[in-house]
C-alpha cells in the first residue's frame, strides 16, 4: 500500500516561486504521469517527494505517514534521474546492484535481481561495462534498471526514456508498464512526450507554471480539457480556438455562424475544437487552405479562418490544394468553451 498525498506544497527558490500550492493524491499502484512544458516544475516536485529538496510549504504523506522530515533513504522511494546519475566508478552490474548491496542482500539474491532487471531493460550484455563505455540511451536504461531492482513501493521517473529511439522507446514503455503493474508499484512518471503520457498513464497531471491545471484520465484530459492551457498543450496539433460573442438565449456567434453554447454564460467566450473534429460540409466556415501536409492516413490542413490560423485533419482521400477555400464544419458534441478571463472551461 503506497498512497502518495501531496498537500499544499509550494516551493520557492529565493524570489522565484517554482511550485504553487500543489494538491494531488496518487492512489496505490496508480501510474501517474506528470506532463508539462520545460521549466514548469516537474523535476522539482519529484525531488520534493523523494526528499532531495525540502518544500517551502506543505506536506508529503506516503502510506498515511507524513514523510517530510525523513531522509530520502527512509521513504521507500526509488528515483530515476533526468540525467541518469549512473556511478562512473562502478560497472553496470554494480550500479544496478548498488541499492541491494546497501540493504546487505546475499550475493545470489543481488545477482538474481540485477540480471532480471537488466534483462527487462535489454542491457544484460553490458553488465561488465563502465558508464563511460555506454551510450546515452544505455545509461538511461541502467538508471531505470537500478531503480527497478530496488523493488520499491513508489518509483519516481524523470523522463526515463527520453533518449531512446522511437522503436525501443515503444518497447520499453510496454515493458515498464507491465513490470510496474506486476510489482504493484505506485509510479510517478515525468515526460514531455504526449503519446507516452497518453499510452502509459492511469491519470495525467498537466502542470503549467508551477501549478497542476488538471489531473484526470488521459481521455478526459484530451476530450474535456479543464483549462485553455491544457487544450492548447495536449494533442498534436492542439485544439483550435475562435472568438465567440453571446447572442442571447445560449447562442453564440463564431466567425459568422451561430452555435449553441453554455446557456449560463453571457459574455465573450472562446470556442475550441480539435482539428480531427472538423468535417467538410456545405454550411461550414469558409477557410482558405495555406499548407497541406500529408500524414499518411490523414491530411493536416492549415488554413486561415476568421483572420487566424486554423488546423483541420481530413481524410487523405481529399484532394486539397493550397489556396483552395474549404467549407469546414465542427462536430457539434466535440465543441468546448473557455472563459477568456479565467481561461477555465465553461460547460
Amino acid at each position: 500500500m503506497a498512497v502518495i498525498e501531496i498537500k499544499n506544497v509550494a516551493k520557492r527558490f529565493g524570489e522565484y516561486q517554482a511550485l504553487h500550492d500543489i494538491n494531488l493524491t496518487i492512489a496505490d499502484q496508480e501510474f501517474m504521469v506528470l506532463l508539462g512544458a520545460s521549466g514548469c516544475g516537474k523535476s522539482t516536485l519529484l525531488r520534493i517527494i523523494c526528499g532531495l529538496e525540502t518544500a517551502s510549504e506543505g506536506e508529503i504523506w506516503i502510506d498515511g505517514k507524513r514523510v517530510d522530515h525523513l531522509a530520502p533513504k527512509d521513504r521507500g522511494i526509488s528515483m530515476v534521474f533526468q540525467n541518469y546519475a549512473v556511478f562512473p566508478h562502478l560497472t553496470v552490474f554494480e550500479n544496478i546492484g548498488f541499492g541491494l548491496r546497501m540493504q546487505k542482500l546475499p550475493n545470489d539474491e543481488v545477482k538474481r535481481r540485477v540480471e532480471r532487471t537488466a534483462g527487462l531493460m535489454h542491457i544484460e550484455q553490458l553488465l561488465s561495462r563502465y558508464s563511460g563505455e555506454l551510450s546515452g540511451g544505455q545509461r538511461q536504461r541502467v538508471a531505470v534498471a537500478r531503480a527497478l531492482a530496488m523493488e520499491p513501493d513508489v518509483i519516481l521517473m524523470d523522463e526515463p526514456l527520453s533518449n531512446l529511439d522511437a522503436l525501443l522507446r515503444m518497447e520499453m514503455r510496454a515493458e515498464l508498464k507491465g513490470v510496474l503493474a506486476e510489482s504493484n508499484t505506485t509510479a510517478i512518471y515525468v515526460t514531455h512526450d504526449q503519446v507516452e503520457a497518453m499510452s502509459m498513464a492511469d491519470r495525467i497531471s498537466v502542470m503549467h507554471e508551477g501549478k497542476i491545471v488538471q489531473a484526470a484520465s488521459p481521455i478526459e484530459v484530451y476530450r474535456n480539457p479543464a483549462a485553455k492551457f491544457v487544450a492548447g498543450f495536449i494533442g498534436n496539433p492542439p485544439m483550435n480556438f475562435l472568438e465567440a460573442s453571446p447572442q442571447g438565449g445560449g447562442k453564440f456567434s463564431v466567425a459568422g455562424h451561430s452555435f449553441d453554447g453554455p446557456s449560463a454564460a453571457n459574455s465573450n467566450l472562446q470556442f475550441a475544437i480539435r482539428p480531427e473534429d472538423m468535417t467538410l460540409a456545405e454550411n461550414g466556415f469558409p477557410a482558405v487552405a495555406k499548407v497541406v501536409e500529408p500524414l499518411g492516413a490523414h491530411l493536416l490542413v492549415t488554413c486561415e479562418l476568421d483572420g487566424k490560423l486554423f488546423r483541420a485533419i481530413l481524410d487523405s482521400e481529399m484532394q486539397v490544394k493550397p489556396g483552395e477555400t474549404l467549407k469546414l464544419s465542427p462536430v457539434q458534441d466535440r465543441i468546448r468553451w473557455f472563459d477568456p478571463e479565467t481561461t477555465l472551461a465553461v460547460a
Binding site: M79, A85, H89, M102
Partner: protein, 281 residues
C-alpha cells in the same frame, strides 16, 4: 574562397619546416632546463668527495658512494632527514584532514560568507612568511610548541592548506551532485554516500593533493630555519651549515632532497592525469 585564404590554411613547406624546428628546439631546451642540473647533481653525488672538490669536472659519474657515506655519517643529518619526513607526513595528513572537508563544504553547501571564506583561504598565501615569522615564533614559544616537529608541521599545513582546499574544491565540484543524490535514494546516508560514491571518485585527486602537500613541506626552508633549533629539518640543516659544510655534502644533501620529490611526482603522475580527467568532465 580566394587564393589568399588557401595560403594561410596550408603553410608552405618552408614555414612548416621552420615551425617544426622551433617546436623541437623548444622541447629540447625545456628538457635541458630541467635535466641538466639534475644530471650534475647526480654526477657529483655519485662521485668521491675528492672528485667533487677538484677541477675539471667529469661528465660521467664514478659510482663512488663516498659522498653519500660521508653525508650519512655527518653529525645530525640523519635526525634532520627523519624530522623532514615526519614534518612532511604530518603536514600531508593535516592538510587533507582539514582541507578536504573544507573543499567539500565549499562545493556542496550554500552558506553566508562563502565567497569571503574562499578569499580568506587564498589570503593566507598573501603574507610573506618572513613577516609572520617573528610573531609566530613568539606565539610558539608562549604555547610551548617552538622547536617541535608538530609546531613546524602546523606552519607547513598553513602553507599547504590553500592548495589542498582549492584542489579538493574543484574535485568535488567536478562530481555531479546527482550522483550523491542517487546514492541517498538507494539507501545511503550522507556519510555512506560519501564513502561509496564520492571517495572512490576523488581518491586519485586527494592522493595527488596530499603528495603536493608533502612536497611543499619537504621543500620549505624559511619557517623551518626560523622556528626550529634542535629539531631541524633537512632543508634547514643544510641551510644552517651552508657556509661550513664541504661541497660534496651539499651535493649529496641536494640530491637527497630532490629525489623524493621527483619520485613522488613520478609515482602519482597517473593520478595527476586522472585528476585532470575528472576536472575536464
Amino acid at each position: 574562397m580566394t587564393a589568399a585564404t588557401t595560403e594561410v590554411v596550408e603553410p608552405s613547406q618552408d614555414t612548416r619546416k621552420a615551425g617544426r624546428f622551433v617546436y623541437v628546439t623548444g622541447v629540447v631546451l625545456l628538457c635541458a632546463w630541467v635535466l641538466v642540473p639534475l644530471y650534475f647533481l647526480l654526477i657529483n653525488t655519485l662521485s668521491s668527495p675528492e672528485t667533487v672538490n677538484s677541477y675539471p669536472k667529469s661528465f660521467i659519474p664514478e659510482f663512488d658512494l663516498g659522498s653519500l657515506t660521508f653525508f650519512a655519517g655527518f653529525d645530525g643529518i640523519l635526525t634532520a632527514l627523519k624530522n623532514s619526513v615526519i614534518v612532511a607526513a604530518m603536514t600531508m595528513v593535516m592538510s587533507i584532514v582539514i582541507g578536504a572537508p573544507a573543499g567539500y563544504a565549499l562545493s556542496r553547501f550554500e552558506f553566508r560568507g562563502k565567497e569571503l571564506f574562499r578569499l580568506l583561504i587564498l589570503l593566507t598565501r598573501a603574507f610573506p612568511l618572513p613577516l609572520l615569522a617573528l610573531p609566530l615564533a613568539v606565539m610558539f614559544i608562549r604555547t610551548g610548541i617552538d622547536d617541535t616537529v608538530f609546531g613546524l608541521a602546523l606552519v607547513h599545513t598553513t602553507l599547504a592548506l590553500p592548495f589542498a582546499v582549492l584542489i579538493t574544491f574543484s574535485l568535488f565540484s567536478g562530481i555531479p551532485i546527482e550522483l550523491e543524490e542517487a546514492a541517498w535514494t538507494l539507501g545511503c546516508n550522507r556519510l555512506t554516500a560519501f564513502q561509496k560514491v564520492i571517495l572512490p571518485l576523488v581518491l586519485p585527486g586527494i592522493t595527488a593533493s596530499a603528495i603536493f602537500a608533502f612536497v611543499i613541506s619537504w621543500n620549505e626552508v624559511f619557517a623551518a630555519a626560523v622556528l626550529t633549533i634542535e629539531n631541524r629539518t633537512l632543508t634547514a640543516f643544510l641551510l644552517q651549515n651552508l657556509d661550513t659544510s664541504p661541497l660534496h655534502l651539499k651535493f649529496a644533501g641536494g640530491f637527497i632532497l630532490v629525489v623524493p620529490a621527483l619520485i613522488f611526482i613520478f609515482a602519482v603522475r597517473k593520478y595527476l592525469f586522472a585528476m585532470w580527467g575528472i576536472a575536464n568532465r
